[in-house]
């Protein structure tokens, strides 16, 4: 028996629906169809009246979820693709993210964003928007890289009293498998050492954790021991775990699939530089997607995003400094 990343997301939602009558799912095609990616497959049948097709209206979808949360419910909004969530951006960042601070009434909503690039996705079905959402105070932004985290972090997100942007990576949906669902997990806000090493720290999250691990594997025969930190959550950001890792290795490479201007990788470097400047044996580096919209053609797409090969090349350069 094995379970995929996508099935873990479905199972987490099924369990939340079973355990908590306040939970419901609202999104385009999530009902009888089971969602564009089948993350809600059969859930409408199992939980009638609680898995509902939404109009093609991302703004109103999030607005409705906020209203329902005020009324004590725990809505899960599925965006069909992370890219379309920008149509609902206003409700997320101005309504959901400000509600608790303004009124002391919490806003327990989860907005699921099928994120990141897949071959052939193109400019409007491939975006990674975690940095955008992490910018606004009042949101929690999660970026699970493993089947176990997809399950446990989604359950924790639904139980949380604050609005959560849940960035699930489409490339991991079908390929990533685990033997079973986890029974215990690290809490939200704690990063994980995905691989131990003493020469260089690679900080990554979401699908880039796997590229970083493959790069570390590639560098091992060359005698370089790479430590990989999986951030798990980009807001809050577990600076302590990253600083502790850099204290061991002296070198930092931050990898993100999002665009280079600002963002998670810049934030990590800014924090480590500020809190642990003396730990660096070489200038910290970061590797992001190229600074253009995301291309459709597989040849272009493969070069647009960081890969194990480009990460390994960047790591080699940094190791020589």
């Amino acid at each position: 028996m094995s379970i995929t990343y996508l099935e873990a997301i479905r199972e987490a939602q099924a369990r939340a629906l079973a355990d908590d009558p306040r939970v419901f799912i609202y999104g385009q095609d999530v009902g009888a169809f089971g969602g564009a990616f089948k993350a809600t497959k059969n859930l409408m049948k199992e939980y009638p009246g609680r898995v509902l097709d939404a109009t093609l209206s991302e703004d109103a979808m999030v607005g409705l979820a906020v209203g329902a949360a005020i009324e004590g419910m725990r809505p899960i909004v599925e965006m069909q693709f992370a890219d379309f969530s920008t149509v609902g951006l206003n409700q997320i960042v101005n309504q959901a993210a400000t509600l608790f601070w303004r009124t002391q009434v919490p806003c327990p909503i989860v907005v699921r964003l099928p994120s990141g690039g897949t071959s052939g996705g193109g400019p409007f079905h491939s975006q990674s928007l975690e940095s955008v959402y992490a910018y606004w105070p009042g949101l929690v932004v999660l970026t699970p890289a493993t089947v176990e985290d997809a399950y446990s972090m989604l359950l924790e997100a639904i139980a949380l009293d604050d609005p959560v942007i849940f960035c699930e990576h489409k490339l991991l949906y079908y390929h990533l498998k685990a033997e079973r669902l986890p029974t215990e997990a690290l809490p939200i806000g704690k990063a994980r050492i995905a691989r131990q090493g003493r020469d260089l720290t690679i900080v990554a999250y979401s699908a880039m954790v796997h590229e970083a691990l493959a790069a570390a594997e590639e560098l091992a025969p060359e005698g370089s021991q790479i430590e990989v930190v999986d951030l798990r959550s980009v807001r809050p950001l577990d600076t302590d775990t990253v600083v502790a890792s850099v204290a061991r290795t002296g070198r930092l490479l931050c990898v993100g699939e999002a665009w280079p201007w600002g963002g998670v990788t810049a934030e990590v470097i800014a924090r480590v530089a500020s809190e642990g400047f003396g730990l660096f044996d070489a200038p910290p580096q970061r590797l992001n997607a190229k600074d253009t919209p995301i291309p459709f053609h597989p040849h272009l797409w493969a070069a647009h995003r960081p890969t194990a090969r480009s990460i390994a090349a960047a790591a080699r350069k940094l190791l020589r400094q």
């Binding site: 309504q95 608790f100 002391q104 009042g138």
Partner: protein, 347 residues
Amino acid sequence: MPPMVPNVAGQTTDSRPSSLRDPFTKAFRWMLLARTLDDKLASLYRAGKIHGGVFLGRGHEALAAAVGLALRPGDVYAPLIRDLAGRLAFGEPVLDVVRTFMGSALGPMRGRDGNVHRGRPRESLLPMISHLGAMISVVNGVLFARRMRNLSGFVGTTTIGDGGTSTGAFHEALNQAAVEKLPLVLIVANNLYAYSTPTARQFVCRDLADKAIGYGVASHELDGTDLAACLEVVGRAVSRARDGHGPQMVVARLLRLCGHGEHDDASYVDPRLRQSPVGQDCLKLAEQSLLDCGWAEVRQIESWREEAAQEIEAAVAQVQREPTPDPFAEDWRALSSRHLADVYPEP
């Protein structure tokens, strides 16, 4: 206020039904309280006692009061900037208004948000954000959740202006309410200007009420200067929604009798509009009706006005002695899960 011609007691020069007396009088008193409070807020603003903007509801009182009175405890209300009379009639305390405008730490927003951005979500009075149209789907959400919990008999109401009907959020949310058959009453206050932009630059359909047709939503048109019409039409729309006939849209035509905010002299308003029927002051018209119908005497109205002024003066006097928010005592965390707030060390 110009002096009113006293009416001969008992002589009715207006043919309004006597059943209207009670609601009309109640609404008038909320309108009067709102206008008096607005006047006080304007004075405080000019005296430099209010930080940020002051946005008044002059000219919108009849419509707003009718909405507030049509709602019951347990209904949902997300007022817009010119709905002071509706808020008061719905149950918002005068103290909440004054505290929020004056930035008292004891107000519902505790200095974190100001002026018209106030509410008590736990009491179904939702605080508006500035992005127009955004509250409609939030009201939908409250209604949607209540229906999921098998509650019934409630309605939700929010207001939008003529400018707000041009937003995507308005379209998405009204359509959503129609698809979900929610008991939403959407009040459109067409006051002929969105800030300075006249309606000719906003839409070209005959009337905003026609927009409802496209969504399959019932619509009602009314003269927003006429309190009796507001009470009747808003009351009917709210009853229809409450009785399960789906969302209702009420479009009122009126004129804002002040600037967009107190910083604005509204010099862009066509002076002919001010002289036309739509430019009449709903409060003065209602007062005249009370006198004409013999429902109140001048002395009575003067005592209501005095009562309103006293309540407001007392509130202002109290709030002026209240603490302002303390930046050193402030909890600078935007999450309710405090342990998940990011910590940024001071340099």
